[in-house]
């Protein structure tokens, strides 16, 4: 998987995306009522690392998030997870669906 250093800039530019405090603990995945394994831990990791392909492969999953904020309430690093998911959707709306 090739790192695309500019990808994170593209995402960040569109709005506020900040997941740098994420330490990969996985609490978010454990409490997710949808049982979505990718969100948000793995997803944010791909964004931060700039692995664009992996993010675009998972557009469906990104839209299946309920934005219930269960993960956010339990995040020990206080990452604004729902906000970040919204930001990503904004990016995908523009870049993938050309909305």
């Amino acid at each position: 998987m090739l790192v695309n250093p500019d990808f994170v800039d593209e995402v960040k530019r569109s709005e506020e995306f900040n997941a740098s405090a994420c330490m990969n603990c996985g609490v978010c995945t454990a409490v997710c009522p949808m049982g979505i394994e990718l969100l948000p831990r793995k997803l944010f990791r791909y964004v931060l690392l700039g692995i664009k392909d992996r993010v675009l492969e998972n557009v469906e999953t990104i839209y299946s998030c309920l934005l219930c904020r269960m993960c956010e309430a339990n995040c020990p690093a206080k990452v604004r997870i729902a906000e970040n998911v919204r930001t990503l959707r904004y990016y995908i709306n523009k870049k993938v669906f050309k909305l």
């Binding site: 998987m1 090739l2 790192v3 740098s20 405090a21 990791r45 931060l48 690392l49």
Partner: protein, 579 residues
């Protein structure tokens, strides 16, 4: 029989001894040995209560010898010598018998054997004690001067510290200028202080003090004498081949010779490929760029750091550096913050094994993540691969454990190898000082917690990174610790040396000089006694090793505290009831 009055105390050590040695049986076996007037057991002989009991016994029963059978004398020799002293008994009439490290702990599978061995060890201790005589420590006046070797941040700070206590300092530096590693740095973590300016400030302070004499291009080439009174020879290199030797008389020596940066081998993580550089090289590049740092005229944007290069190496390597170099995580994280500041468009990828930004440096780590650094973790047995690739970029491939073990490829402008600290190569200094080095080849202290700057060579102290990886703050802290320890000898004005040293019987000696050849401390010289040439022991040089005793063809040399008669009686004690 003996007319000595000896007290014997046998320690349970709270089970450390008594779980394997039948302490009561031992007491019964030795209580009727010649000279013994009291034999007791105790749960912890080193406890205040038992020491008090010993003191009371010595006074009330008028004891003139003391034996404690407990742990290694390394632990409690001085404890019980002091107890003897408090009771008015000469401390050199005390014998410690080690029935823990050398008996109970080594024979946990043989209770009877251990008990039998303890009895014999104690009998020998009693036999030695019967032949003890009161000895007095040798008092040496100390010279109120110190030699500080090494003019980096630790050496400079130590020199100023000693000078301010009122002790004259000879400060020597091997290279043409003082300042060491710190003098070459601009911004340093965690406060952004400028290293060069820190050194300039210290150098100004050195210049202000008339009692500091600084020699650059100078090395310590000879050392003789003893704690409180060393003679040192300093070799100063001048123009061309000109060399001057300067001799000085000092009371103590502080070694602050620092470290070397680990130099990666060719091909180690791609070292040798254009753009693969070490952390000090990267820091120099950052420090020397006013605007956006560039390489080959191209702005540095994408950076990969590889951590633990030269540190925490695999044990199956040849001469591996097993230790963590302690400063490099912080230094690399700090360097990434500097780059982020100089080029906000940069992308930085840190390939680490473990991030050890300990204590308050943890904040740097958080800052760097906020500034856009991404951290990738690799396993020690799966290191990243570095190769040249098209367009002047360098391709780094790593299996990132934080991305669920997926293989990640990064194309970087430069790759920074986060290199650790290695001991400086100064074999001559080691030879001159006879200082012990550890398995990691750094200088060794006596006790890592309680005596962290003292060495086994009395009067020689170590500080800074010559002792092991340290950052500048830690180096200065240890330098000031060395100042305190050094001053505690020199300000008192005298030191007491153990009188357990060789003595020559001038009647028997006929100066064949056999002993001179074997003395490792050059402490024997030719003297005269009633018009006759005899060997004379230099009391400040003799360490009491006993090397000269068996080579003397006339048996004219005896070691005080361990005389031939004492050793023979100890052997008899060991072998009692055997033959």
């Amino acid at each position: 029989m003996s007319d000595r009055r000896i007290g014997v105390y046998i320690c349970h050590c709270g089970g450390n001894i008594s779980d394997y040695v039948d302490v009561e049986r031992v007491r019964e076996a030795v209580q009727n040995e010649p000279g013994v007037v009291v034999a007791r057991t105790a749960m912890f002989t080193c406890s205040d209560a038992t020491q008090q009991e010993i003191v009371q016994d010595i006074k009330e029963r008028n004891l003139d010898g003391l034996v404690v059978a407990s742990c290694s004398p390394k632990l409690h020799l001085f404890t019980f010598r002091n107890a003897a002293r408090r009771a008015g008994l000469n401390p050199y009439q005390y014998t410690q018998v080690n029935i823990r490290e050398q008996c109970s702990w080594t024979h946990t599978d043989d209770r009877d054997g251990a008990t039998e061995k303890a009895i014999r060890l104690i009998r020998a201790g009693i036999a030695r004690t019967i032949l003890t005589e009161p000895l007095e420590p040798i008092i040496i006046d100390t010279v109120p001067k110190v030699l500080v070797a090494g003019g980096g941040i630790a050496g400079l700070r130590a020199a100023i510290g000693m000078a301010d206590i009122g002790i004259s300092v000879f400060l020597i530096e091997k290279s043409p200028a003082v300042g060491g590693w710190i003098g070459r740095l601009e911004k340093m973590y965690p406060h952004g202080r400028n290293g060069r300016q820190l050194i300039d400030k210290l150098v100004d302070e050195v210049k202000k003090r008339e009692n500091i004499t600084l020699f650059t291009n100078a090395e310590l080439v000879e050392k003789s004498g003893n704690i409180g009174d060393f003679n040192v020879k300093i070799r100063v290199s001048g123009q061309g081949d000109k060399k001057d030797d300067i001799t000085a008389n000092v009371g103590s020596i502080i070694i602050a010779t620092g470290f070397d940066s680990y130099q990666p081998g060719a091909g180690e993580y791609g070292y040798g490929i254009d753009g693969v550089i070490t952390l000090p090289e990267f820091k120099e590049l950052l420090d020397s760029s006013d605007g956006i740092p560039a390489r080959n005229g191209k702005a540095i944007k994408d950076v990969v750091y590889i951590y633990c290069v030269g540190s925490r190496q695999q044990p199956d390597r040849e001469n591996p550096n097993l230790y963590c170099s302690r400063y490099c995580c912080n230094a690399a994280v700090h360097a990434s913050l500097l780059l982020a500041e100089k080029n906000p468009k940069s992308h930085q990828y840190h390939l680490f094994r473990d991030v050890r930004t300990y204590g308050r440096y943890e904040l740097l780590y958080s800052q760097s993540r906020e500034a856009g650094s991404t951290y990738l973790r690799f396993g020690e047995d799966d290191p990243p691969a570095v190769e040249r690739c098209s367009g002047g970029k360098i391709k780094v491939t790593v299996k990132d454990l934080l991305t669920f073990g997926e293989e990640v490829e990064i194309k970087a402008d430069i790759v920074v190898l986060v290199t650790g600290m290695v001991p400086r190569k100064n074999g001559e200094l080691v030879d001159v000082l006879k200082l012990p080095v550890g398995r990691d080849r750094f200088f060794n202290e006596i006790h890592p917690k309680l005596r962290p700057v003292e060495t086994v060579v009395d009067g020689v102290f170590i500080c800074g990174a010559c002792q092991g990886p340290k950052n500048s703050a830690e180096s200065v802290a240890s330098a000031l610790a060395a100042v305190t320890q050094s001053a505690s000898i020199l300000k008192k004005g005298y030191v007491e040396l153990d009188p357990l040293m060789a003595s020559v019987n001038p009647q028997l000696c006929d100066w064949c000089d056999e002993c001179v050849k074997v003395c490792p401390y050059s402490a024997i010289e030719k003297g005269e006694e009633q018009g006759k040439e005899v060997a004379r022991i230099n009391k400040t040089g003799c360490k009491g090793c006993g090397g000269c005793v068996p080579v003397c063809p006339r048996e004219a040399i005896d070691l005080k505290g361990y005389t031939d008669a004492q050793i023979k009686s100890m052997i008899d004690g060991f072998l009692k009831e055997t033959f």
